[in-house]
Each structure stands twice: as structure tokens, then as C-alpha cells.
């Protein structure tokens, strides 16, 4: 009898400890702490890494941050990324739908795309500099180009891989062609379309940073490279962190919109 109660008590305390301390969370925090400690130790005690700024230096650099300049650069980068991204969505999404939905459009457009696609977007920088008048339009073209192909290809893939039973079921209920596209095929393809958009967002940030590094027209990429040239490495790391936060905000934003458009998934 007493044996039984102790077993129950033991179980209770085990559960209680599990509730009291979320060990997974503790380990996750520990991970970041270990990272920062390791970083400090490497920089402080190993001569090879002595040029890398310490976390303390990076933290102190926050107070010396020229806030208006940084905000202006963040704004510029955001503008370029979002303008290119939305142009990519506005142009790429209909083309992707057309290629995925219509066989003739696929055969007419797809081979030409396949010729252009393997060229990395960065390699277009010199031609865009020749073609476009000012830096804003060059940068927006580049981000547009980087966002375009992931969106087109994922929209196409998503539409062509819709479970064939769904349109068949809809057809047997007498659904017409237009309703089929809007109510059956596009919602079913949405998860993959948003996978493409997330990819596109990541690529636009890479492109914006690269393009800004190569020019001197502002933006966070320029800010990183400027601090590199004046050897202000704590600010370089800080700027990298800011770019990372901006990129994370953008991809979280895409994820939130994607959750809204794929809310039917939660029903299953």
C-alpha cells in the first residue's frame, strides 16, 4: 500500500518538475549562451581570431550607432526588397498560373525561361547598370529578377501537382473552369506557392546586399561595406545583425500571409 503511494508521489513530482522547468527551452537558451561564450573565448584567447570584434564590443557599438543614418539605410534596403518582391509576385504569379494551368502557355514560355534561369541574378548587375538610369531602378530590377523565378516555378509546380482527385470531384459537382481555378486549384497549390515566396524573399535580401555593396547609393549592404573599409568591425557585425533581423521580419511576414491563405490546411 505504502509502496503504491510513493510510486504515485514519485510520478507526481516528476511531472511537476517537467512542468516547472521546460528543459527544452533551457537548452535552447543555453545554446545561445554557449555561442556567445565560445565567441568571446575564441576572440580573447586565440591570437588567430583577434581581429574579430568581441560580443562586448558589438554591444557597446549599439550606443554609438548613428541612428538616423542606419534608419535611412534600413528604409532604402526595405524599399528595394519590397518593391522588387511585389513586382515579382504581381508578374510572376499570373505567369506561373498560366504555365501551370495551360499546356500551350507552358510550351510557349517555359523553354525560354529554362534558357535564362541558370544565369545567377548577380551576374545581371553590369547589364542592369547599363540599361537602367538610376540605382533605384537597377536594384529593384535585380530584386524583381531574383524573386521572379522561384515564384514562377513554385506556382507552376504547385498547380501541376494538385491531387487529381480534387478537380475530378469538383468537376463531378459541375464546377466550371473559372471557379475550378479560383476555388479548387489555387487554394490547393497555395502551400507550395508560399514556399516559393519565402525562397524569393531570402534571395531578394541576398541580392540587395550584394548590389548595395557594389555601389555607393546607401542601404544596409553599403553600410556593412563602408564600415569594413573604415575598419570599424563592431559596426560591421552589428549591421549584419540588423540585416538578419530585417530579413527575418520579411520572411515571418510572408509566413503570416501564407498561413492566412493556407488556412484550409488547419481543418485537416
Amino acid at each position: 500500500m505504502s509502496d503504491n503511494t510513493t510510486a504515485i508521489e514519485f510520478q507526481f513530482w516528476r511531472q511537476f518538475r517537467k512542468i516547472l522547468i521546460n528543459w527544452s527551452l533551457v537548452r535552447k537558451i543555453l545554446s545561445l549562451v554557449i555561442f556567445i561564450v565560445l565567441w568571446t573565448i575564441l576572440v580573447q584567447f586565440i591570437g588567430y581570431f583577434h581581429q574579430i570584434p568581441t560580443p562586448q564590443a558589438v554591444l557597446l557599438a549599439i550606443f554609438e550607432l548613428p541612428i538616423t543614418v542606419v534608419l535611412k539605410n534600413i528604409g532604402l534596403s526595405f524599399l528595394r526588397v519590397l518593391a522588387g518582391f511585389f513586382m515579382g509576385v504581381l508578374i510572376g504569379f499570373p505567369i506561373g498560373v498560366a504555365i501551370g494551368y495551360s499546356r500551350i502557355a507552358n510550351r510557349l514560355i517555359f523553354p525560354a525561361f529554362e534558357m535564362i534561369r541558370p544565369i545567377p541574378p548577380i551576374a545581371w548587375i553590369p547589364l542592369t547598370v547599363l540599361f537602367f538610369i538610376n540605382f533605384e531602378s537597377q536594384a529593384i530590377f535585380l530584386t524583381f529578377y531574383g524573386a521572379f523565378f522561384p515564384i514562377v516555378y513554385n506556382t507552376m509546380g504547385g498547380i501541376s501537382e494538385v491531387d487529381i482527385r480534387l478537380p475530378r470531384a469538383a468537376m463531378s459537382f459541375g464546377v466550371g473552369k473559372r471557379l475550378m481555378l479560383w476555388k479548387v486549384i489555387l487554394p490547393a497549390a497555395m502551400p507550395q506557392i508560399f514556399t516559393g515566396m519565402k525562397l524569393a524573399m531570402g534571395i531578394t535580401w541576398i541580392l540587395v546586399v550584394a548590389a548595395e555593396m557594389l555601389s555607393n547609393k546607401g542601404g544596409m549592404g553599403y553600410y556593412v561595406w563602408y564600415n569594413h573599409t573604415v575598419m570599424d568591425y563592431p559596426h560591421v557585425v552589428l549591421a549584419m545583425g540588423i540585416i538578419g533581423i530585417c530579413g527575418a521580419i520579411c520572411s515571418i511576414g510572408v509566413g503570416v500571409v501564407g498561413n492566412y491563405f493556407t488556412r484550409w490546411q488547419r481543418l485537416f
Binding site: F35, I52, F110, I119, I203, M220
Partner: protein, 282 residues
Amino acid sequence: MSNAKEETLNFVWHPPTIKTKIFNLNTILSVVSIVSLFMAWALLVHFQVYRFSLLPSPAEVLEEGLGWVRTHVFWIDAFATTLRVLVGVLAAYIIAIPLGLMIGWKKVFSDLTFPTLEVLRPIPAPAYLPIAILLLPWQEASVAFIPFIDAFFPVLLNTITGVKIIDRDYFRAARCLGSSPKQIFWHVVLPGALPSISSGCAIGMGIGWMGAVVGEMITGKWGLGYRIWESYILIRYPLIVDGMIAIGILGFASSVLIRYLTIRLIPWRKAITESLDESITK
């Protein structure tokens, strides 16, 4: 005897079926598509629409390209870029695949490493360049560092997903049959994740080419990316397009190679993972 008979049967002359193949609608439309791309380019440049007069025409590009391919400069450039991409991307494979397998397999290991990687992930690869220049003593390594970063996270995330989508029953079955963790790793985790890893590798290779071009444009003395930037500065505009085409061909060839290798090496690759793969590649 029977073999010889089959061979003779195979050598029976068939009337050519090419005629029907060439003139079906699909091939005609494909040819129209590609031809119209080049025609549009040629005509826009020829009639000097808007600022197209500044761009090189297809004929100039072809002429300059044929000259360029004959020089040793082209081969050194192509070799340098390929080497940088291969070094960076292979380093990413070597580090990211074991790491991803462990993160996907062991919850404790995942908790201890993944948050840090998640913090580093959104930083775009070109932004790492100043740190790479500081950290790595010679320039080649700092250029190869960008394809490394570019390829690292797609490979890592694909590997983790690959382990996570393995059916839990395989683990339970293996444990019931008394296999050690080592055996589970080699016979369940690794083979189960390989299809997803292979698609991650293909994506990594594609993005790695982009990274190498960025690195060469910003800091470089050789390579196709550097040649593009230099020919822009030296006003040899046709060479820009030739460089783009060369990078496109090499990048395409390397991803085709990876796809071919992985299809040969992983015969249990299923249709489901193939569709997943198509979805992830841009």
C-alpha cells in the same frame, strides 16, 4: 543463341519516326519560344528601342565569345570559379549533412545547436564577406566562403526535414529488434534522409554559383564573376553577356551532374520526395 536472335531483331531497320516527332505541337511551340527570345533580343537592340541600344547584340556576343573561348583567360576563369564553388559547396556538404542528421535525430542536440543556427540563418551571405576577409588569411578562401554560407543552410534544412519525415515506425522497429544507436544511425537515419539530402545538395550547388559570382565581383582577381565586372569597367560589353552565359552553362551542368549522381546513388528515391524536390528547387 537467344541473345543473338534478339540482337538481330533489334537491328531490323525501322522507317524513321522522326518526322512525326518533329512536327508535333509541343516541339514546335518550344522552338518558337526559344527562337522568339533571341529574336526579341536581336530586334530590340537593332531598332534601338529605349535603352536597348546600349546592350550588345547577339551577333556581337557570339563573335566576342568565340574569340574569348579560344584564349587561355577563359579557361583559367572557368577553372577558378568552378574550384571556388566546389570547395565552398563541398565544405558546406561535409559540415551541414552530419550536423543536420544529428539535429533531426536527437532532440537534445537540436536544442543545443539549432537556435544559434537560426539566429545566423537570415543574414545574407554577402554580408559575411568582411568577416570572411578578416577570418581567412588568403583571398581565395574568403571568396569560397560565400558559396559555403549560401549552400550551408539549404543543405542543413533539407537534411533536418529529411530526418524528420522518416516514419517513426522504422525507429521503433529497429529498437525492438535490438539495434544499437550506431546501427539506427547507419541503417535508418542516413538512408531515410538521403533523398531529401540530395535535393538539398542540388539547391546548394545552384545557390553556390550565385555566391561565387558575388564574391568574385567584390573581391577577386580571377574568375567569371570578376571577368564580367572587369569587362563592364573596360567597356567590353559583349563579354559581359558571354560571362553570364558561361556561368549559366556551368551552373546548369553542375546541378544536372548532382541530380544524375543522386538518382544513381539513391534507387529508393520515391515519387513523393521527387515532387518535394521539384517544389524546393527554384
